[in-house]
């Protein structure tokens, strides 16, 4: 029934709508991006082939800086998400009264429209009247108001913090599910042998949640590398381009300055980096599944 010829025909017919849609809206634009990246396309209707010019321009400009900054931004953000997410998952896994409520309360940043959460952070970072600056002044850490989005280094970390805030709920809940899938008898056996809580965490929880953590950090890496809304709403890449990541730079070049060709070249580079991440990820997964027996 499942692999006769008529079954295959039936399955393929069922796949046509989704496949066709994805081909037109994702695959074709992807090919078009590569194509455009070799042209000087812009506002004028006519454009011509310019070979590797756009790529040459990228590497002559300050784009190397942008790439470095993007990697730093991404790795800091993903690292923080994973650390805070793991801590959150372990805490929410503890058998204390109220935990169901605590778990539900973790999710709002993920449920609400991203833009709304980002506007809220925009207020928190406000220098004169925002909560962060205000509380730090009340406590006495700061003596004068501090506008977090007005200076390069603080805007850099402020955008990271907001990205972490938006990403943490999913990481936490995913890792929590992974922890709960660990067989209970492992803990009971270790406990019966006199293993303490910390020892059980280090020797059972951490190793057994590693595959899920790896998957999650990969998904998070892709999302973070592509993160646009947060930086765009908070700083638009400023001040002084200190929060301009690759995706922001692509947007500014293509949509802001109408240099479609140069923007496309940047987009192609982003795709190449993302493919490399995936390659490393699959190699890591393979190594992990081979080394599982130790």
């Amino acid at each position: 029934m499942i692999n006769s010829r008529s079954a295959i025909t039936f399955a393929l017919i069922f796949l046509i709508p989704a496949t066709l849609y994805t081909l037109v809206i994702v695959a074709y634009p992807l090919v078009d991006t590569v194509n455009l990246s070799f042209t000087n396309a812009g506002l004028p209707k006519s454009y011509h082939w310019v070979g590797w010019d756009n790529y040459a321009k990228i590497f002559n400009s300050s784009f190397a800086m942008v790439i470095g900054r993007t990697f730093l931004w991404t790795f800091c953000s993903v690292g923080l998400k994973m650390i805070i997410g793991t801590a959150g998952a372990v805490l929410l896994n503890a058998a204390v009264p109220g935990r169901t409520l605590f778990r539900v309360l973790t999710l709002p940043p993920w449920i609400i429209p991203m833009a709304i959460g980002i506007f809220m952070w925009g207020w928190l970072y406000n220098g004169q009247f925002g909560m962060i600056s205000g509380v730090l002044q009340n406590v006495g850490v700061l003596h004068t108001p501090f506008a977090w989005l007005a200076y390069g280094w603080s805007a850099f970390w402020a955008t990271i913090l907001t990205d972490v805030w938006i990403g943490v709920p999913v990481v936490t809940i995913y890792l929590l599910a992974a922890i709960q899938a660990i067989p209970k008898d492992l803990y009971e056996a270790a406990w019966a042998d006199g293993a303490g809580r910390w020892y059980r965490f280090r020797r059972i929880t951490l190793p057994l949640m590693r595959p899920a953590a790896l998957t999650m950090s990969m998904l998070s890496l892709i999302a973070t590398f592509n993160s646009f809304d947060i930086i765009w709403i908070l700083t638009q890449g400023g001040p002084n381009s200190q929060t301009t990541t690759m995706i922001i730079d692509t947007y500014k070049t293509a949509i802001g300055s109408y240099k479609y060709g140069e923007g496309a070249a940047r987009a192609v580079l982003i795709c190449i980096f993302l493919s490399l991440f995936c390659l490393f990820y699959f190699r890591a997964v393979n190594r992990l599944s081979k080394g599982d027996s130790r």
């Binding site: 499942i2 992807l30 058998a95 429209p113 991203m114 004169q128 108001p145 982003i270 995936c278």
Partner: protein, 305 residues
């Protein structure tokens, strides 16, 4: 399955509560300082997650002039819910923005389900050459974001004449929600016992009849989860396409429409926050009723490692 949804039994009276207390396994008992540590940890964690909401709510309750005053005071002595009324007058299109957000998300959800349900069934139940590659190709879509494809998408929308219409936000929005939908629903459908469709097949039912009368009813909970996840996803991420492909204010979703509160000289923060809460409310209500199903569905992947 996951324990994330566990609740106290609804009708568990005192007796049961006492028995539970007595039966807490030794391994789950905490010393008092461990308990304090856990609660302090959870409190810090939840504060990080919820502080922006608390602050946003506080801001929405204060008159604008008083907001712009140092030093910072946490407890306002001048609270008023005026902003929640004033905002509809200051930004007359606000109701329209919220409607647009809901409308766009709803249409996206319907289209995604129409595309995803058959595809997930084909992946879950049939074996055909190139199956793995095709599934992998769908998942690879998750790798590219809307921002990367913005330039050709813009040209495509222009060619099709869809710029400045609802379609310019719906059409690309759908594409990026298909992969996750297929992935989740395929996993759900694989859990439906094959014996059911085989029995119907032996009774002479056609393939389409089996899909419609056997699989679809049984897969309904899974379809619900995917629909809900898609709706929330569509509601949460409708910024970049709306920003780039649409400039008509009467079609803007809330995420972009909120920029109306950014005046030339100052941002009307209290009304911005009030409007944000009004826009969050619909999806929050849906979420709190259905969160159990949603969380169970979304985390299925973590367990089947």
């Amino acid at each position: 399955m996951t324990e994330i949804t566990d609740r106290l039994q609804p009708a568990a009276p005192l007796v049961a509560a006492k028995r539970v207390a007595a039966e807490v396994p030794m391994i789950d008992r905490y010393k008092w300082f461990e308990k304090v540590g856990i609660y302090v940890g959870i409190a810090v964690f939840l504060f990080f997650v919820l502080a922006p909401f608390i602050e946003g709510f506080r801001v929405s309750l204060r008159p604008l002039d008083h907001l712009f005053s140092s030093p910072y005071v946490f407890w306002p002595d001048d609270a008023s819910i005026n902003a929640y009324f004033q905002m509809w007058q200051d930004v007359p299109l606000l109701g329209r923005y919220i409607f647009n957000s809901l409308f766009i998300s709803l249409v996206i959800t319907i289209v995604v389900l129409l595309l995803v349900v058959p595809a997930a069934y084909a992946f879950a139940r049939f074996e055909f050459p190139g199956q793995g590659v095709l599934l992998g190709a769908f998942l690879a879509v998750n790798m590219v974001s809307g921002a990367v494809l913005l330039i050709p998408l813009y040209r495509l929308m222009r060619t099709l004449g869809l710029l400045n219409t609802y379609y310019s936000m719906i059409v690309p929005g759908v594409a990026f929600l298909i992969p996750t939908g297929i992935w989740l629903l395929r996993a759900y459908m694989m859990g439906i016992p094959r014996e059911l469709d085989e029995a119907a097949w032996a009774d002479g039912a056609s393939r389409f009849y089996i899909f419609r009368r056997v699989i679809l009813p049984l897969a309904m909970p899974g379809v619900m989860v995917v629909g809900l996840a898609t709706f929330i996803g569509a509601y949460a991420t409708q910024f970049i396409f709306a920003l780039t492909f649409n400039s008509k204010s009467e079609l803007m979703p809330l995420a972009v429409g909120l920029y109306s509160f950014f005046g030339k000289e100052r941002v009307v923060w209290n009304e911005l926050m009030a409007a944000s809460f009004a826009g969050v409310l619909p999806v929050m209500i849906v979420f709190f009723f259905l969160q159990r199903y949603l969380v169970a569905g979304m985390t299925a992947g973590a367990i089947k490692q």
